[in-house]
Symmetry: C2
Amino acid sequence: MKGDRTRQSILERAVDIASLEGLEGLTIGRLADELKMSKSGLFAHFGSKEELQLATVQSASERYIAEIFRPALAHPRGYPRLVAVCDAWLSYIRRGVFPGGCFFAAASFEFDSRPGVVRDLIARLMRNWIDALEKAIRMAQEEGHFDKSIDAAQLAFELNSLFFGANFSYVLLHDEAAITKAEAAIKARLEALRVT
Amino acid sequence: MKGDRTRQSILERAVDIASLEGLEGLTIGRLADELKMSKSGLFAHFGSKEELQLATVQSASERYIAEIFRPALAHPRGYPRLVAVCDAWLSYIRRGVFPGGCFFAAASFEFDSRPGVVRDLIARLMRNWIDALEKAIRMAQEEGHFDKSIDAAQLAFELNSLFFGANFSYVLLHDEAAITKAEAAIKARLEALRVT
DNA sequence: GCCTGAAACGAACGTTCGTTCTATTTTGAT
DNA sequence: ATCAAAATAGAACGAACGTTCGTTTCAGGC
């Protein structure tokens, strides 16, 4: 179907715009203009703005997974894979995978207190992400790289905080060193926990 | 002047709305409705939406300082004051000082890639905040509570990351334990660095 | 109590928003 | 090549946006 290809290219652009201007700032008129389509033609692909937002979040999620998860799976489970995920995250910011910084950090803070299905989707995906981090940590415990006594949820929380903190300082404050700082903090924390 | 009082009450409400819906989601019509004022009467206080946004950010900054800085200054400089700032930050989230979570976390992620004076103001205030954190850390060094070798900018980055991470998990994911996790991480980090 | 400037109002502006039609073009299987 | 279905376009909708204007109400110093 041609429609599928069009839909895909619409969403690619929608994700980029939303990462810059937010999911509410993403406007059907502007999106249509940039893609040289009619508003109504574009609109027909989704049926409502809310559906467009949901599809945009889904599309961003696919990009996120492709950039961060897939590469990490190539590394051996346990400590190496956990480090690979962390490296992938920071590299994902450095490379500007989304032009406005991490799509999900932005979306999370935009929708964190707006009830609705869009918020629910974002929250579900973020829960999945934190769970995946926890799982990577627990794998490192199972492989004997980390002590069993480590609180995986606690460590996952800390890592995610450092990711978001790096994104914040890098994008808003243009602090190039932010990513290095996050790297240093993560490295110190992980190596201190490591069983050798 | 009566106008000053009105302006103040407009901004109080504006801050609350903006913390929930964002500074772009903050609408002059809705703000006027909630305050039972006419759009034009309210508008006259600011002259433009951008001026309203700037005044709203300033007003939020005053609330932020009153809630986090002022109480901390009552504690002795050095380690105790640094701990007091961290406690005040987490308590500020727990108490819901802004109904939508930390105003500045939300504003930072909303405006981080939108050029303009509003973004510039937010960035300046956030730089000030990080600088104040750094200063509190350096004071602890000067008082002999921390080793001189500690990198204050690095530690300030980490603390701020944990604050934002706590806000994220608490508001979006409704994770009540998020604040406890941040507390634990901060406590562990600070106590490990402490000179006894 | 009056007078003046400040403050608030109501109506309207042009624009853009999301959305709904109907009509036209394009696509792809036959 | 045909033809139904899918995709796109175009025009219009009411609502809401920020903003402007002229008018009315109110407050506070004399």
